[in-house]
């Protein structure tokens, strides 16, 4: 069974890709939502597969896809609005990387939360950056976040970087200290600050900070579903 990507607008050439999937603290979802809003990105495509869970979005009584592509300002944001079990998530990632590789992207970015036990005491969450290659690292010069010097990265970000590397797509993973099971707009704001220098436009995070409580409340159920999906995944496989 395959993953189908449908574009509904002229393509962005040499884009930056941001792939956002629900994970710890819903960091990438919150960051992607804010980016779509401040950059006024338009829906330019959708992704579907029989492998995806039987969930649809509903707006004004009409079914919507749950994995959407937004575009504009030299940027694509691919956002999964529902948590995906491990197998569909990996197939989605591979399909998105195959798709973006044909557009010769400047950089493909995945963002994620790293659960921090004492997040409640952390005022400014730290962002850690890992790149798929030396080329990707130099392409992303100016991007914020502390470079991970040495060690091992496991889970979804590692899978993303490895698959990007196999396709010759320069890629970065930005991981930020976050709550594991609570939506974390504060962590999302730090990730956005880190990627802002390479986007070529300002990302005003004041509205994100102002709406922090509303975002936490609105994303409560998606967070609970994400935690449930992660619990159902084989233990060593899922790191959102």
């Amino acid at each position: 069974m395959s993953v189908e990507i449908v574009e509904t607008a002229p393509e962005v050439k040499n884009p930056i890709l941001i792939l956002a999937v629900p994970g710890a603290g819903l960091v990438s979802i919150i960051a992607a939502d804010h980016l779509i809003k401040v950059a006024d990105l338009k829906e330019v495509g959708r992704i579907d597969s029989p492998l995806f869970p039987p969930v649809i979005g509903v707006k004004d009584g009409v079914a919507m896809h749950t994995v959407k592509i937004y575009g504009g300002k030299g940027l694509y944001v691919v956002k999964a609005e529902v948590p995906l079990p491990i197998d569909p998530l990996l197939k989605l990632t591979i399909s998105v990387l195959d798709w973006i590789a044909r557009k010769r992207p400047k950089l493909a970015i995945v963002m994620g939360g790293v659960p921090e036990e004492d997040r409640i005491k952390v005022e400014k969450p730290q962002v850690m950056a890992v790149f798929s290659s030396e080329e990707a690292k130099s392409l992303a010069e100016g991007m914020g976040g502390e470079l991970m010097k040495e060690g091992y990265l496991s889970g979804y970000a590692a899978f993303f970087l490895r698959e990007a590397s196999r396709r010759g797509v320069p890629a970065a993973a930005l991981m930020v200290q976050s709550f594991a099971a609570y939506p974390d707009p504060g962590a999302a704001a730090e990730v956005l600050k880190a990627i802002e220098p390479i986007l070529g436009f300002d990302v005003d995070i004041s509205q994100l900070e102002a709406e922090s409580e509303t975002i936490r409340l609105k994303l409560k159920e998606l967070m609970a579903k994400t935690v449930q999906t992660a619990k159902e995944a084989p233990a060593p496989m899922y790191i959102g």
Partner: protein, 111 residues
């Protein structure tokens, strides 16, 4: 196939009459540690009641112009000492530490 039948609808854009907050319960060497996400709640609007086997949290807040009521009863996995329960609220994240009930031996009279 459980997922196929589990539920038909969930959404995150409507505020219910009473919201059940996201929460986590852990047993540590300090006792039962509960954290809870209570967006918009200030300590003046928060009431916590403790018994030997449960903690009840009730709160009200204003979020995005709407009044939100939270309520959650948590059965503790081990007996706790309700007199020594402490709670701290930081940016709407509540942390409750409930020390375990001390179990002592009492001499039994033999008749």
């Amino acid at each position: 196939m459980d997922w196929f039948y589990r539920e038909v609808r969930w959404g995150y854009f409507s505020v219910r009459d009473v919201e059940e907050p996201l929460h986590e319960v852990k047993v540590t060497k300090e006792g039962v540690v509960i954290t809870m996400d209570l967006p918009g709640v200030r300590k003046e609007e928060l009431v916590i009641r403790a018994s030997e086997d449960a903690i009840l949290v009730e709160a009200t807040s204003k979020v995005g112009g709407a009044t939100v009521r939270y309520r959650k009863l948590i059965r503790t996995p081990i007996p706790i000492d309700p007199d020594r329960v402490v709670a701290r609220l930081t940016n709407g994240i509540l942390q409750i530490v409930a020390p375990p009930k001390e179990v002592g031996f009492r001499r039994v009279k033999v008749e």
